[in-house]
């Protein structure tokens, strides 16, 4: 391999279409904050963007070790982009562990900004390194920008009243300042944020702003980079008002909106679990929207409290991740049997068991669709991205109340913590779905059904309507029944009711021609990568179509007809082929080709492109 002597040193000031940057440091170094600030500033600047936070489950794994490395990748662009990027153009490494863990992902000839102040013998030892990677040739072929960030921060804060340890903690804002200079970003949004974040600690505001500005000025004064870059604002996003949005926040807002559209009080029962906890936290801050939240003693109590709230005539909601779903299973059966609305949110993470709590996977699909005792169908919906989570959460609420059923809304770690610009919807454009409680006892039967197959909802407190309900099988009157024909009939009713949800959901749109050799069929957070991959192969002349499912159970109508016009349907998913199994069970006449990955990391566009080409070449 040819050694590049001073790679990048002669680069002129230039405009770039897109940049992929990865911040990496110790989990105590504030890399997620740094990444989120860069994201927010770039969003306000007018770039399209996508992010991929990647952090350990441990809050503070031993400092300086490889398991303690926390990363945040962001792609920002003047063009419409769909992914956080496969390989970073620039890596910011705050310590040796962060450098060695992330270097392999960097583009050939990419730039490394490295905090040389954290490469002392003891730092190398913590990262299990015998030699200093700054000196042993590890970085040959990359453009290295060495900065002793540890020392520069203390220099900048020499007059600050903070203790040395607290001064050092400002190094992420120094680093952010450096990157703001390199990519010509304004500082104002971050300064405003710091004032808000530390409004009760003015000395911290002052120190962090100083560090931010010192980093920014260092880029200028010290000529570290031999030039500045600019990524112009995009003109490819549709007209509208935008804000930067993360998936869990969008779900929390969607729950408030969905409950309002149903005319109900949202009542959340939840138990903290990564990566779903921020839904509980956000909703707890929305009390002035009439939101009731209860942090319960465990996952089972959380769903049970939500079911109890629905029994009382509120919209019961519970939020969790895979292991919590496992615990809630029996209670879901109760809500299915008693036929109460309930919104169950699963922010999927890598499993089985505790698995990898902060890593992404889509492996709870079969659990969502089938994972209960008895024949216990529920509708299953999946968000694809932060910007569709709001609307899909509202739809989950709609289905729950219109069909008197629990609904499972799936998301995952990538959507939950990833961010992208969200074109704010016109709230007036949503059609409300107000619940009408039944109050007329005349001829009322507990399990009499409307045209959708839903039973009527009667609130306790309603005179002359007293009923007893529960998990034992009931007849149409609501009385316990072990009658053989009745059980068959009630099982059929529950099945048909969920199947009928298909009447109320749209057939997904096709991206590309409506017939051909290959259809890429995805669901969940792979949408950006699959869109990018399909665009890439089309540039090479391949005719490939793409479709993304948001409503997975029941399947939307019209799929069979669409599928029948393709020779093969490739199903990429971050599990061992769960959607493929369901598709083969429901529509065995089609040729489904699974494409699976379970590394705890999203697909790379290049991987999907290679697989598509491989399939097309047969």
């Amino acid at each position: 391999m040819t050694k590049i002597e001073t790679p990048g040193a002669d680069l002129p000031l230039q405009q770039l279409e897109r940049v992929v940057i990865r911040f990496a440091g110790d989990s105590g170094d504030g890399m997620q904050i740094t990444g989120n600030q860069f994201t927010q500033t770039s969003a306000l600047f007018g770039n399209d963007l996508a992010t991929l936070p990647d952090f350990p489950a441990e809050i503070r794994a031993p400092a300086g070790t490889r398991p303690g490395v926390s990363g945040f990748q962001l792609q920002f662009s003047s063009k419409d982009i769909h992914t956080p990027g496969d390989a970073p153009d620039i890596l910011v490494a705050m310590n040796p562990a962060a450098l060695v863990v992330n270097l392999g992902d960097l583009k050939a000839g990419g730039t490394v900004v490295v905090n040389t102040g954290a490469f002392k013998a003891n730092d190398l030892k913590k990262a299990k390194l015998d030699k200093n990677p700054l000196e042993d040739g590890t970085l040959d072929g990359y453009r290295v920008i060495p900065v002793d960030i540890n020392a520069r921060v203390l220099d900048a804060l020499v007059d600050s009243p903070l203790k040395t340890k607290d001064k050092s903690r400002c190094k992420n804002f120094y680093t952010l300042g450096l990157m703001y200079w390199l990519y010509s970003r304004p500082l104002e949004a971050t300064i405003t944020w710091l004032h808000e974040k530390f409004k009760k600690r003015p000395e911290l505001v002052e120190a962090n702003v100083l560090a931010l500005k010192a980093g920014f000025n260092a880029g200028d004064i010290r000529e570290l980079f031999q030039g500045q870059y600019e990524v112009p604002k995009t003109d490819e996003l549709p007209a509208g008002t935008y804000r930067n949005m993360m998936g869990n926040d969008a779900i929390a807002m969607g729950l408030v909106a969905g409950a309002k559209m149903a005319g109900l009080t949202p009542v959340l029962g939840s138990y903290p679990i990564t990566p779903a906890s921020t839904i509980l936290e956000s909703l707890a801050s929305y009390k002035h929207f009439g939101v009731v939240t209860m942090q319960m003693e465990d996952e089972i109590a959380a769903i049970c409290a939500a079911i109890g709230a629905s029994f009382s005539g509120s919209l019961g909601i519970t939020s969790t991740s895979g292991p919590g779903m496992a615990l809630k299973t029996e209670a879901m059966g109760l809500a299915i049997s008693a036929e109460y609305p309930l919104v169950i949110i699963n922010i999927q993470r890598a499993g089985p068991s505790t698995g990898m709590p902060t890593k992404v996977e889509q492996s709870d699909l079969l659990q969502a669709v089938f994972g209960r005792n008895g024949d216990a169908p529920v509708p299953v919906i999946s968000c694809s991205r932060p910007s569709d989570a709001f609307q899909l959460t509202i739809d989950a609420c709609r289905i729950a109340v219109q069909y008197m059923t629990p609904v499972i809304l799936l998301s995952d770690n990538f959507i939950a913590n990833g961010a992208e610009p969200w074109c704010l919807p016109d709230i007036e454009s949503f059609k409300p779905f107000p619940v009408v409680f039944k109050t007329d006892p005349e001829g009322h039967q507990t399990f009499a059904r409307n045209e959708k197959g839903a039973r009527a909802w009667v609130k306790p407190g309603t005179p002359k309507m007293e009923f007893r309900i529960g998990g034992l099988e009931k007849d149409v009157e609501g009385n316990v029944s072990y009658d053989a024909d009745n059980h068959q009939a009630m099982t059929n009713h529950r099945h048909n009711k969920v199947a009928a949800v298909a009447e109320s959901i749209p057939t997904p749109e096709l991206d590309g021609p409506d017939s051909g050799d290959l259809l890429i069929l995805g669901w969940g957070s792979t949408v950006g990568i699959l869109t990018q991959a399909v665009e890439t192969v089309r540039e090479d002349g391949a005719s490939v179509s793409r479709m993304h499912l948001t409503h997975i159970w029941p399947f939307p109508k019209g799929l069979d007809e669409i599928f029948s016009k393709f020779k093969a349907i490739m199903v990429p998913e971050m599990n061992m082929g769960q959607l493929t199994r369901i598709l083969r069970g429901e529509m065995p006449q089609h040729n489904f080709i699974p494409f699976t990955k379970v590394t705890g990391q999203p697909f790379l566009t290049t991987e999907v492109v290679a697989k598509i080409k491989n399939v097309l070449e047969g």
Partner: protein, 334 residues
């Protein structure tokens, strides 16, 4: 509401149209009858009353009450009731559970509902046996209980439900007996009046799998000497002639004459005093305490949860969806 006289309901109005399916002679019948009568006598509104239960013989109770009822899943009634009550604090909510439902599979939820002080009433039917699964020992069965799953005798120490509740800082703790309708009704009324979680252990006879297990304390021939009733404002005395008493000492509790007997006040007694009385259970020679162990006021969970929402609405104004979505840093394209 109009000011015309409301119809007076009778016990029959609280009897549902369901055929009661407990075993003949089961203690549950007496408790059900006492409850139906209490509801009528206390002027309860069936439409505003909810019985929530878990799983077990006792948990069939809601089917037989002509009120709203939710027969849920094993051990989870306290959690379900928490949602029911928080979503509508105007409802009068009663939880019916058993020793297995409340203290084995649902022990966690029982602990937490008592800790939170949700404004509901809990009736724990304790027959020291699993009935619905046909006679295995329960978490309240004494050590050495020989049943189908413990042919050589159980080896785990039992819970004392009263001590459990006191340990959870419950605000109302009482004990009664299925066969004593008068006593039970008095306790139901006190529990109903109490604001916060009212916990009542009801000693209940399982005539099939643990027949008359409690006769050594509640049988008429021994009851006066083997039980002591904790009545607020009265001296703690027992015996056929009410000639024996209890008093607190530095080391706990001691028997004494009537003159020295403590005047019982469950609203001022410390938890440790109530706990000391509860521990009388462990000594077969001392009377088993019945009545009200504790009745104190404390912050009520459902009220506080709703107050926070109301306060937020009145301070910040009622939020609209638009305010939520169109907030934070925004930018415009086009």
């Amino acid at each position: 509401m109009t000011d015309t006289a409301t119809t007076t309901l009778t016990k029959k109005d609280f009897v549902s149209d369901q055929e009661v399916r407990w075993c003949p002679g089961c203690g549950d019948y007496a408790i059900l009858a006492a409850m139906q009568k209490y509801m009528a006598d206390s002027g309860a509104d069936p439409a505003n009353t909810v019985f929530v239960s878990g799983i077990g013989c006792s948990s069939r109770f809601p089917y037989y009450m002509n009120t709203y009822g939710f027969h849920t899943i094993h051990g989870r009634a306290p959690a379900i009731a928490t949602g029911v009550k928080v979503a509508n604090p105007d409802l009068s909510v009663w939880i019916v559970t058993g020793d297995g439902d409340a203290l084995s599979i649902g022990g966690n939820h029982l602990a937490h509902i008592l800790r939170r002080n949700l404004n509901v009433n809990i009736l724990l039917f304790n027959n020291e046996i699993y009935g619905l699964t046909k006679g295995q020992y329960s978490p309240t069965s004494p050590v050495g209980t020989k049943k189908k799953s413990t042919p050589l005798g159980s080896v785990d120490r039992p819970f004392n439900p009263i001590a459990f509740a006191l340990g959870c800082n419950a605000t109302f703790v009482a004990r009664s007996v299925d066969t004593d309708a008068k006593h039970l009704t008095r306790i139901l009324a006190a529990a109903d009046a109490h604001q916060g979680t009212s916990f009542i252990e009801i000693l209940q006879n399982c005539v099939i799998f643990n027949k008359d297990f409690y006769n050594k304390v509640v049988d008429r021939s021994v009851r006066a000497d083997m039980t002591v009733d904790l009545i607020p404002g009265e001296k703690i005395v027992y015996g056929a002639d009410k000639d024996k008493g209890l008093r607190f000492t530095a080391s706990g509790l001691d028997t004494c004459g009537v003159d020295d007997a403590e005047v019982w006040d469950p609203s001022t007694a410390t938890v440790s005093q109530a706990f000391a009385i509860a521990q009388l259970d462990t000594d077969p020679d001392t009377p088993k305490p019945l009545g009200i162990f504790r009745a104190v006021d404390a912050q009520i969970y459902d009220e506080s949860v709703r107050e926070q929402v109301q306060d937020a609405v009145s301070t910040k104004g009622e939020g609209k969806i638009e305010d939520l979505v169109y907030s934070g840093d925004r930018w415009t394209v086009g």
